[in-house]
């Protein structure tokens, strides 16, 4: 029995562990190493001595009390739980987005950081959000010829930078030497990436992402209330369920600084220590800056695949009025990813929202249910 279980070893989870010094803490992550998507391999916080770390471990069920059911470590019990489950990318389908060579933006960054050689490759990093520049900068540093295509107009990006001058040096460093188009988006990929302004780019790889979607499934399974799609927390990062805290992207997409600050608050609060609330201003400003152009919902044509697992096209989904309806009739969202990718897409295209979360929240062998 641990005092605290921390789910997710990214910046928020590591900050929570560090703040909970003196407690028996268990840290669980499904990746082979800690650091989350942002720090993989380039670690800024190491794992403190009071923490038991289980990498490459998936939590497929969580029950009150709390017990965490895992695929490699059996059942882990803890008095308190800090959910730092991060975010995944939002994809918007366009013709050609399922072809080899088209990856998520964070996806290609992950592949490059885990050994993919992109020297001399022509890469378009397209979509929306601050991640595009970060990915572009990483790829360029690794020798790729990169173009960044951001759907948000330049005026809104400049307004954000004016409001956060402390982010300016980082933005300039990333932007240097990186060709960037704003107010532009991909419309089709057929070996060339065709853009909304009528031009086309010859590329080897496309890295696309249209923002981030919070991973709320673990918190939802415990009954934590959501607020507009994000895990609702108070000024101590406490969720609506006593003993469950949440920090980082699941409470609002805000990036590294917010994740570190919230992780520290959650770790301290779980130990009964005094905390100071974390500002949510940057979260709101990011939403406003990178809100998606309505035309992006029209990129998917009738024969464009929306649900990649079950090969369901937009045309097959158009007749239905809800996520549940579409699932029952087309198998959309019923494949291996369990709607993690196409669920947020149908929310953008049709305004659908999934109705419930049930275990297992990740695919695991049936034998594990005997635990």
């Amino acid at each position: 029995m641990f005092d605290i279980a921390v789910l997710g070893a990214g910046p928020a989870g590591l900050a929570a562990c560090r703040a909970a010094a003196g407690k028996r803490v268990v840290l669980i992550d499904d990746n082979p190493s800690h650091g989350g998507q942002i720090w993989r391999g380039e670690l800024a916080i190491s794992i403190p001595d009071h923490v038991t770390f289980h990498p490459s471990t998936r939590v497929f069920d969580l029950r009150p009390g709390f017990t965490l059911h895992t695929d490699t470590q059996g059942v882990i019990s803890a008095a308190k739980l800090i959910v730092c489950s991060g975010a995944r990318e939002l994809f918007l389908p366009f013709p050609g987005w399922t072809l080899p060579g088209v990856f998520g933006a964070g996806g290609l960054q992950a592949f490059v950081k885990s050994g993919l050689d992109v020297r001399g490759k022509r890469v378009a990093v397209a979509g929306s959000g601050p991640l595009l520049l970060a990915v572009g900068a990483t790829l360029r540093k690794r020798g790729a010829k990169v173009s960044v295509i951001e759907q948000a107009p330049l005026g809104r990006l400049l307004k954000l930078l004016r409001a956060y001058p402390s982010k300016l040096p980082q933005a300039i460093t990333m932007r240097l030497g990186l060709p960037m188009r704003t107010g532009t988006w991909p419309v089709r990929f057929d070996g060339k990436l065709h853009l909304s302004n009528g031009s086309a780019l010859e590329v080897d790889y496309v890295a696309c992402g249209f923002g981030l979607v919070p991973n709320t499934e673990a918190a939802q399974l415990l009954g934590c209330r959501l607020d507009d799609g994000f895990v609702a927390v108070d000024s101590k990062q406490q969720t609506s369920v006593a003993g469950v805290y949440c920090a980082g992207e699941p409470t609002g997409i805000g990036g590294l600084e917010k994740a570190l600050a919230e992780g520290e608050v959650a770790g301290r609060a779980a130990c009964g220590l005094a905390t100071r609330p974390v500002s949510r201003r940057f979260v709101r400003d990011l939403i406003e800056t990178y809100r998606l152009h309505p035309d992006l919902a029209a990129l998917a044509k009738a024969d464009t695949v929306v649900c990649r697992c079950e090969n369901v096209t937009r045309g097959a989904l158009d007749p239905f009025r809800s996520w549940r309806d579409a699932k029952l009739q087309t198998r959309c969202g019923m494949g291996a990813c369990q709607g993690r990718i196409c669920g947020p897409i149908t929310q953008q295209l049709y305004g659908w929202t999934p109705e419930s979360v049930r275990p297992p929240i990740v695919p695991v062998p049936a034998a594990l249910f005997d635990q």
Binding site: V102, F103, G104, F111, G115
Partner: protein
């Protein structure tokens, strides 16, 4: 360096390379998406075990990977 077999072909990759990164470079029709264990598009058979996520598995000496 680590030597492994990708789709019957021997390849050699740097230490710390993920199976997904190795496959992108060596298997033309391998089309993973998210890179972070969510989309499940990178499932491959590793040493005969099916449904392993290439993006969250590091290449090991002598490993046999089948993505087709």
């Amino acid at each position: 360096m680590v030597e492994l077999i990708l789709n019957e072909k021997p390849v050699s990759v740097a230490d710390g390379t993920s199976v997904a990164a190795a496959l992108i470079a060596h298997a033309a029709d391998f089309a993973p998406l998210c890179g972070m264990g969510v989309c499940m598009a990178c499932r491959v058979a590793i040493d005969g075990r099916p449904h392993q996520l290439a993006c969250q598995t590091l290449c090991r000496q002598g490993m046999r990977v089948c993505s087709t």
